[in-house]
């Protein structure tokens, strides 16, 4: 049973053979030694399997405030580098023999610089930069709990063909914010470091160079963190009232639905609701004294918004998929695009992304 499980997990491509047994599997306790017998009683209802484990019927609590009690307002000045930039979000498997010692970070910078130079010479990078120097440094402002790995910022500076001065060509951050517990087994903890998310802001070509280098050097697997519609709905419910008490005018809450391809002529429907009105609806569903949101509240909220839309246009939004959502705090696209607007809520958003990445990784184990 154990050997079959290992081969199945490695064949999915998410983990390398070294990492397949590293993380404590939450699912391991569910498998019983019972022999496979297909002759069960006919079920009264059938459930269609979904790619993401369905939480229907279970109450799922999602904390909104930081574990250490702060809303990161004191650190918002340090986190301004994350706002108003379009990031691509990736998930990673544990990195083998990754060190945060200053001399190792310096060495990584030199190795990545030579890799970028080699890619330049192969003319794989369109901007044809004269130089691409990489720098690795620790970002202390993202380490919120003792279980969090030291966040690493990666910068690649260079000069474009048409420019006279150097500029930053790539900004990336490896981090894990407020991870619940240390997910690595004690016997392998020394050799592996687990960063659940990688944020990258750069061109596609340079991003590919960075990802390829990280995968080769640290024997890990990096892939885009996809947000299915149910996760996007959670984010809307959690963050639509994020800046409600502030005096500034908030961006409207935006839901972008993708129209199925068989309906030719319309590609997407963008449904924006004023932040204050959205909050009014949300407060009628959720008790503002409670810190946690439940799945029932989230589904009621989305359903009532879609019902309002239906009464106006007689179009069934629930038959379409959410592809992007926007709130006053951030804008998130299904394909792993992220733009954060509020520096005070960077930790909160990254914490949630960390949780999603860890959950996704656990499901694929």
């Amino acid at each position: 049973m154990a050997s079959r499980r290992n081969s199945a997990s490695s064949s999915r491509g998410m983990s390398t053979p070294q990492t397949s047994c590293l993380l404590k599997s939450r699912l391991s306790q569910r498998f019983t030694p019972r022999r496979f017998t297909p002759y069960w009683r006919t079920p009264q209802s059938r459930r269609v399997a979904t790619a993401v484990q369905s939480t229907k019927g279970r109450r799922k609590a999602v904390p909104t405030k930081s574990k250490n009690g702060s809303d990161s307002s004191a650190d918002s000045a340090d986190l301004k580098g994350f706002i108003d930039k379009t990031w691509r979000v990736y998930k990673l498997s544990p990195l083998y023999k990754f060190s945060t010692a200053p001399k190792d970070l310096k060495r990584y910078g030199q190795l990545l610089s030579s890799c970028v130079e080699a890619a330049n010479q192969k003319i794989t990078i369109v901007e044809s930069n004269a130089s691409g120097k990489a720098f690795f440094c620790v970002q202390k402002e993202l380490q919120n709990s003792k279980d969090d790995p030291a966040a690493i910022q990666i910068l690649i500076k260079g000069r474009k063909a048409t420019a006279n001065t150097d500029s930053i060509l790539l900004t990336a951050t490896l981090c894990g914010v407020e991870m619940e517990d240390n997910l690595l087994n004690p016997e392998v903890k020394e050799h592996f470091t687990y960063y659940p998310i990688l944020l990258v802001k750069s061109t596609v070509a340079l991003t590919d160079v960075l990802i390829t280098w990280l995968q080769r050097h640290f024997d890990c697997k990096i892939s885009p963190l996809i947000f299915p519609p149910v996760h996007l709905a959670w984010m809307i419910a959690m963050w639509s009232g994020g800046l409600a008490n502030s005096k500034r005018k908030n961006k409207p809450v935006e839901l972008v639905y993708q129209v199925p391809s068989e309906c030719e002529g319309i590609k997407k429907i963008t449904y924006s609701i004023e932040a204050d009105d959205c909050l009014r609806v949300w407060n009628s569903i959720h008790d503002t004294r409670e810190d946690i949101f439940t799945e029932e509240e989230m589904t009621t909220f989305i359903a009532s918004m879609e019902e309002h839309f239906y009464s106006l246009f007689r179009i069934k939004l629930n038959a379409m998929q959410l592809s992007c959502v926007g709130t006053a705090l951030c804008y998130i696209g299904r394909e792993g695009l992220l733009k954060i607007y509020s520096a005070e809520h960077v930790i909160c958003i990254l914490r949630h992304l960390t949780e999603l990445s860890v959950e996704h990784f656990m499901l694929n184990m």
């Binding site: 309906c263 002529g265 963008t270 449904y271 924006s272 009628s284 106006l312 246009f313 069934k316």
Partner: protein, 351 residues
Amino acid sequence: MGCFSDVLRSAFTKCKASELENLLKQWGYLTEDELLQLNFSKSKMCVFRDVLSLCQEKNRKRETTDRIDQFDLHCILRNSAKKKWFIYKLHDKKPGTKESWQSDPEKFKKKLQQQVDLYFDSTASVSVTLQDGALWCRLYIPTGNHNMNSNTVYLIYYPHCQCFAISAFKVSVQNFLFQGLSNAFGYATLTSMNLSGLHYKSLFQLAFNKLGETSFGLTKDVQSLPFMGENRRKRKAEEIEMEPNMRSEDIAMKRKRSLSLETAFGNFEQPVLESLQFKVEVKFMGRKNLKNFSEDGEPIRCCVKFEGPSVLEGVRNLASCGLANEPLPKHLLKVNSLGTNNFVLKSKDKS
């Protein structure tokens, strides 16, 4: 010489490499021998440099500048979908306005040039051409910003019509530009119809439906629309009609839906609109599952935008695919005759 090289470069970037040869022949400024010297198998920029050097050799700066402006206009004419067009309506015709100039591009150019010289710098220029019954104009209005593209405005006007299409322009020139245009057309004022898109023929058709200058309201009664041209196609037949051997369980419901959509939208393809926007301010109507929602009468403000290659066709298809229930609301069905693609929906004030 630097100025018309920018115009020529901009014109070349607008058109496809495969169209260059025909465009240059139509332009007529280069002789046949000069055209033979050009190698169209090379890249666009190589051809541009060759054409530029041929123009510079002619050593007739004023004429060359005018002819290159004409070339730029022809490129836009051929690739009109690269520009976003905004429809404006003309109000209050001035008494005694002569209309004989409207069908003559040279007279119209002279009239427009007079107005442009009145309000703008002497370096402002006007080019006009007649194509498919419409007057196409190119206005170059220099401002402090030397970016040529932002200083150039294009206009499409069908003679004797009460509306025209214009490309994007700077807010700083709007007042003088509108004053000059209303004087040139012989009207007192002009207002936006809140109608914009990439397909100018569809925009004109929608504007005309609203202005009532056609004798039909529904597109179903029309075999060929004046602006949609001869290429207007009948819609593809439904799948159940195409395949006689196909059996469907709810064929009666599908046929009924197909008939009602035909009544609402007609047989022909809808005019092409890339976006349709509704600003809505009505009472919240999603409170079926909400026990604690306060009925204080405050409306919920939201904005809905439909986007795609042909939104009107898409709205029809939403119903035929079962993603929308019939009957569709009037504000979706009547878009064809309302002459705008930006709507405001508000609750009726009971007081």
